[in-house]
């Protein structure tokens, strides 16, 4: 298929892998910010093409993973109410709240619908004027324009039975928070290509300069990611800390200006809690005063704890925060592939297709997963033995 196979060919991958090996003289730790990149790295086994002393750590760019427990609890509260049609992206249904998940609410009779766009939810609101239609508007700068557009059109068309339960995050403040963390091991970043498609990358040079880290705007295909790593390692080896754009076929420096204008029209910046990570100043978006009638939290009289430092902690034992700050790997978690599995997740990264834990579980790579492998085999033989005993 055009524009896909070209980025997955064995010989070009091998050439790039050789270039990375040639340029690397010492260990480096690089974070890929976006969960989509994490998924591609694990799915395609890209670590297998890298010298053993280049370590990739997985960033916080998975919206499902960082949505606070309070938002899930508010979503569950609203979705369980009669007369509500609650719309969400599919992944959010299985994210554990403090007591249960949205899928359980659906099984109990809540009218919860999976949609692919907030505009589909808006159409549902027009179709069902006697119901309150709520869309769980989560995501980064990538989903913000469409969510903004839904609120904008709802206001323009007077669709007053529509509202958004928002949990919108901004990436650059999170990168800055990680750079400031004394525990951080990250020496370079692969910035999220799709976020930059919307926002451009004009805000990155000051981060690169201030914290002395190379930032490479990177795409999502195997060849993109390896090229991003190559550019990042090359900078590290040469002692440079600049911003480079690997994903120039999609990303421009200014980004998508009309999309940015739509975001600014509807949303304003606020401080935000990130699940597992904590409070990061100026790292979220909320509806502006003029769009507050479309704020589901306000409409249903629910508490707003995500913009304050008093948000609920994740008490499940999930170490997602440490994983998403590059301090640990999924395999380091005592629950990984034991109590915590995709069908019974303890934490959000085991749910989302962009979550690091789900990717490790689903695509456990042959060489990296010896421990996981042994566990899985032990469990299988245990089950087989049980079956035989019966």
């Amino acid at each position: 298929m055009k524009y896909m196979h070209e980025y997955r060919q064995a010989d070009t991958i091998k050439q790039l892998a050789d270039k990375i090996a040639d340029v690397t003289s010492q260990p480096w730790t690089i974070m890929e910010v976006c969960g989509g990149q994490t998924n591609a790295i694990v799915k395609f086994g890209l670590q297998q093409f890298l010298p053993s002393h280049i370590e990739l750590v997985h960033g916080p760019g998975c919206p499902v993973c960082v949505t606070p427990v309070d938002i899930i609890d508010n979503a569950i509260d609203i979705a369980a109410r009669p007369n509500v049609i609650f719309c969400s992206f599919g992944d959010m249904l299985r994210v554990p709240g403090s007591a249960k998940d949205l899928q359980s609410v659906k099984a109990e009779g809540g009218d919860i619908r999976i949609v692919y766009s907030p505009m589909d939810a808006l159409k549902l609101a027009q179709k069902h004027p006697d119901k309150e239609v709520v869309f769980l508007a989560i995501g980064f700068e990538t989903t913000a324009p469409a969510n903004a557009m839904a609120a904008y059109q709802a206001r323009a068309k007077g669709i007053n039975n529509f509202s958004l339960l928002t949990s919108q995050f901004l990436v650059p403040p999170a990168i800055e928070a990680m750079c400031q963390s004394p525990q951080s091991r990250i020496q370079g970043f692969l910035a999220a290509g799709h976020v930059c498609t919307i926002m451009g990358y004009e805000s990155y040079p000051q981060l690169a300069e201030k914290y002395g880290v190379p930032i490479v705007v990177t795409g999502f295909e195997p060849l993109d990611i390896l090229q991003g790593i190559f550019l990042c390692v090359q900078q590290l080896e040469q002692g440079r800390s600049e911003v480079e754009n690997q994903y120039s076929r999609v990303v421009s420096q200014q980004g998508n200006v009309p999309a940015q204008q739509m975001i600014t029209e509807v949303f304003e910046c606020q401080s935000q809690s990130w699940r597992g990570i904590g409070h990061i100043p100026h790292s979220g978006l909320r509806l502006r005063e003029t769009f507050r009638p479309f704020d589901a939290g306000q409409k249903f009289g629910l508490p707003d704890r995500i913009s304050s430092a008093n948000s609920t902690d994740d008490t499940t034992g999930c170490i997602s925060g440490e994983i998403m700050q590059g301090l640990k790997k999924p395999c380091d978690c005592i629950h990984f592939a034991k109590q915590c599995r995709p069908e019974s997740p303890i934490g959000a990264p085991m749910v989302s297709s962009e979550g690091a834990c789900a990717a490790y579980y689903r695509y456990a790579t042959f060489n990296e997963s010896v421990a996981f492998n042994k566990r899985a085999t032990a469990q299988t033989s245990e089950k087989t033995a049980k079956r035989r005993d019966q």
Binding site: A10, V42, F44, G45, S104, A107, T380, S381, T384, R387
Partner: protein, 352 residues
Amino acid sequence: MTKNQIEINPECPLPFSANERVTLGHGSGGQLSHQLLTELIYPYFDNPILATGHDSALLSIGNQRLAFTTDSFVVSPLFFPGGDIGKLAIYGTVNDLAMSGAKPLYLSCSLILEEGLPMNTLSTVLASMSHTAEESGIKLVTGDTKVVEKGKGDGIYINTSGIGVVAHDICIAPQQIEKGDLIILSGDIGRHGMAVMAMREGLTFDNPLNSDCAALSDPIQSLLNEGIVIHCLRDLTRGGLATALVELSESAEKTFLVEETAIPVSDAVTGACEMLGLDPCYVANEGRFIAFIPAAQAEAALTLLRNHSVSATSCIIGSVDEGNKSQVVYKTTMGSERLMQRLPGEQLPRIC
């Protein structure tokens, strides 16, 4: 123990917590379905025939070996590109029988109809079933009809059960899989799941995407008639190719090596999957199977399979490796390797 105490039967433990409910994921054919079966359903009905876990139960009555199976169909929408619920209801059961090497003979059919269903829709589905049954050489010989109140069904639900005769004496089962066997896939994957999904989500493609639903008994019968020693067969339904491979590797306690480059996927399926973030290896099929064949007979088997339109693009996608570790090693187009897992929960709601 006092009289008032409830006696708990330790053979039937309730593995799910008391307030847990059935979710759509339990019907996905993946890990949750597996858990529901092995932990809740099997323990209640435990017997050696059920425990084999085949698509069909193999029964010996006198000197005659029979295969017996059942399947229910709740697909929405009722009509989709390349098929409809009626076709699926015949093919699904015929294919389950075919996977034990049986020649399908007789079917039962139960219809659960929702109040308000247009008669015209019902007759279209029945005509499709009748045509498909005739084409598959199977007779529908008994049945039942129930009607549920409006809002309590989804138009039509269909259950079919089938009986077939096993005329050969080879044992086709995961336990027969041997080191060195080659794994044959009967055609490109993911078309049924993506056709249904595209219809549901209003996605359109330059080249229309049709379901692959088809009867698989003829190609299997040709293999058996020509003396191919089939070690194991599995039709790919919910959970897709990956789930079928993982299940068989577990039952067989063998390591499979599978090459991504060898697995045919149409451009339309690849494109739709990329767009929706799905993996074609986990997408449902209704007219594809994998066969484990001794290497010496693999070429002959391929030639025979390619003579049937339903398996005209059959190809070898991998082999059975040495060692008895239950795992499926997947070699990507780029040469890296990873392990395949079962579909954990739900990839698509109710597609077959």
